[in-house]
């Protein structure tokens, strides 16, 4: 055990893991986080806390992580490279670890151009892969500069993201390999809205044996409307939405129910797919649907390990 988190235990013991996601509010109102925490408690092993997602200022992921701990949930702290240099990041990692947070997910971060402070300066002192490497070094007792820690090193289960839908396609697998090389333990993928492409990617992943080196959680996002699906297909870079999926939503009488149904079918499909260690459910602004999806997809109750 590297960190001994629920998530780590679940996956290392070979169980199909489930992670969720909670977006911290654009205020210091911790009740919002607590509300979601209460609603989602027990449905997932661990919950991602986004780090100023889409470059919009929000309650910090570590702050929200503390609220989750208080509510008895396990946080998965996201850290992006956009806003902090290696000094600040390492300090935050030590702080988070001291508070008992065991999962940290390393990301590049959305460019500030899309956020609410487009005139800010970005940092990108290190990139996500370098960040993984720094964290891996830290848990082994070394700072990024090579200096040895005199005291207790942080215990971290290191996560990363992978986007099978961005280009160049083959290189996406190489990039996952680099993340595994850097020391990532698990990886959550971009939400799958084109299963065919995802399967192709997994084939390449398996061909290189990567699934044995890094736990892969497939990203699941239930679609709320056809418009959203079309928008993602057309305007979100690095996002692919299959025509079948759009057609299904288009033909459905109850689009939301169909979206949930598709998500459930995807989970069932992923359960059977070789090399998939779990799912990561991102119900953006639709957190209340998570229990239903988990229930119907046979993910509840969560096993105890």
């Amino acid at each position: 055990m590297k960190a001994g988190s629920n998530l780590e235990k679940m996956m290392e013991s070979g169980n199909f893991a489930v992670t969720g996601e909670i977006g911290p509010p654009k205020s210091c109102n911790g009740e919002i986080v607590r509300h979601h925490a209460k609603m989602l408690k027990g449905w997932c092993e661990s919950f991602n806390l986004t780090d100023n997602q889409t470059a919009i200022v929000r309650l910090s992921s570590i702050g929200a992580g503390q609220l989750l701990l208080e509510e008895g949930l396990e946080p998965n702290i996201q850290i992006v490279c956009r806003d902090r240099n290696r000094i600040a990041i390492q300090s935050d990692v030590l702080g988070a670890s001291a508070l008992g947070m065991k999962n940290i997910l390393c990301l590049s971060g959305d460019h500030q151009k899309f956020g609410n402070h487009p005139t800010s300066k970005n940092v990108y002192d290190v990139d996500s892969i370098q960040l993984i490497k720094i964290l891996d070094g830290m848990r082994n007792g070394y700072f990024a500069n090579g200096e040895e820690m005199k005291d207790e090193p942080p215990k971290i289960y290191i996560g990363c993201a992978a986007n099978p839908f961005a280009d160049p396609f083959e290189f996406r697998v190489t990039r996952l390999e680099k993340k595994a090389d850097a020391g990532a333990d698990f990886c959550q993928t971009q939400c799958i809205l084109d299963m065919e492409r995802f399967e192709k990617w997994m084939e390449l992943v398996r061909a290189r044996g990567l699934h044995k080196r890094i736990k892969i959680l497939g990203g699941i996002t239930p679609m709320k409307s056809v418009k959203a699906a079309r928008y993602m297909k057309k305007f979100v870079a690095g996002m692919m939405v299959s025509d079948d999926l759009i057609e299904r939503l288009d033909k459905a009488e109850d689009v939301k129910a169909e979206g949930v149904q598709i998500a459930i079918e995807q989970i069932e499909h992923l359960k059977k797919m070789e090399g998939i260690a779990g799912v990561h459910i991102m119900a953006i602004a639709w957190e209340e649907i998570v229990p239903e999806i988990c229930k119907r997809a046979g993910l509840a109750p969560r096993p105890q390990v």
């Binding site: 990108y124 990139d127 370098q130 993201a161 992978a162 280009d167 160049p168 680099k178 870079a237 690095g238």
Partner: protein, 226 residues
């Protein structure tokens, strides 16, 4: 090449509002090449300023001159007599030239006439693109001759990030994804395997982050320290 763009006229008129006589000073270096501050632009701006101030009823006497380069003190020496007669200098040189000018004429107002944009290449008449950030430690050997520091929106060293699609950057659909370019170029050269290597964190101390930089080549100096 340094790429610059003339400042909005209102800003310039604001700088000069207190003056009656100015020298519009062009530069024959980069800003001539990038069509921002050569002799022609100097002439046009001089005329524009004179007309704008005439219109306000507060005539401005405008002298104009374009010198070889404003980033060399010796060239600035040559216009000392002109500078003597004016209240202020409006420099159309890049940030370097403007500062050199200010240093050469400590008693004169020296106003910037252009915004220095970036170090770049001329793609087409009227179109320029950034290519270098002068980070002080070139990595082009590892990235197929395409700079991730200057050309990747996130300056990442192990790209492309998840926002790369169809070879374009998520930040702007008109901008090439630098890492897609790097990948394709190395693939063409049969070197794509080299991208498996994790490029280590960059030493930014060679960049501006290490404080204002200075280059001293003792082999070229006659007396050390001078």
């Amino acid at each position: 090449m340094i790429i610059a763009e003339r400042k909005p006229i209102d800003e310039i008129l604001g700088f000069l509002s207190q003056h009656q006589k100015v020298l519009v000073l062009g530069c024959g270096g980069c800003v001539t090449v990038c069509l921002a501050g050569g002799e022609k632009e100097t002439g046009i701006l001089s005329s524009e300023l004179a007309m704008a101030r005439s219109k306000e009823g507060r005539p401005l006497e405008v002298a104009q001159k374009t010198i070889e380069r404003q980033c060399d003190f010796e060239y600035l020496e040559g216009i000392r007599h002109m500078v003597k007669d004016v209240d202020a200098i409006l420099s159309l040189a890049c940030g370097i030239g403007i500062q050199t000018c200010a240093e050469a004429f400590p008693d004169k107002f020296v106003w910037p006439g252009v915004n220095t944009k970036f170090l770049g290449v001329n793609l087409n008449v009227g179109e320029w693109a950034e290519r270098c950030q002068a980070c002080g430690q070139c990595v082009l050997d590892k990235t197929g001759g395409i700079c991730p520091v200057a050309r990747c929106s996130k300056s990442i060293f192990n790209g492309p990030c998840g926002g790369s699609q169809n070879g374009k950057c998520e930040v702007d659909p008109d901008t090439d994804c630098a890492w897609a370019l790097i990948h394709d170029r190395l693939a063409r050269l049969g070197q794509v395997e080299s991208l498996r290597e994790i490029l280590p964190v960059k030493d930014w101390s060679y960049s501006r982050d290490g404080g204002p930089r200075k280059l001293v080549r003792e082999d070229l100096e006659l007396e050390s320290g001078k």
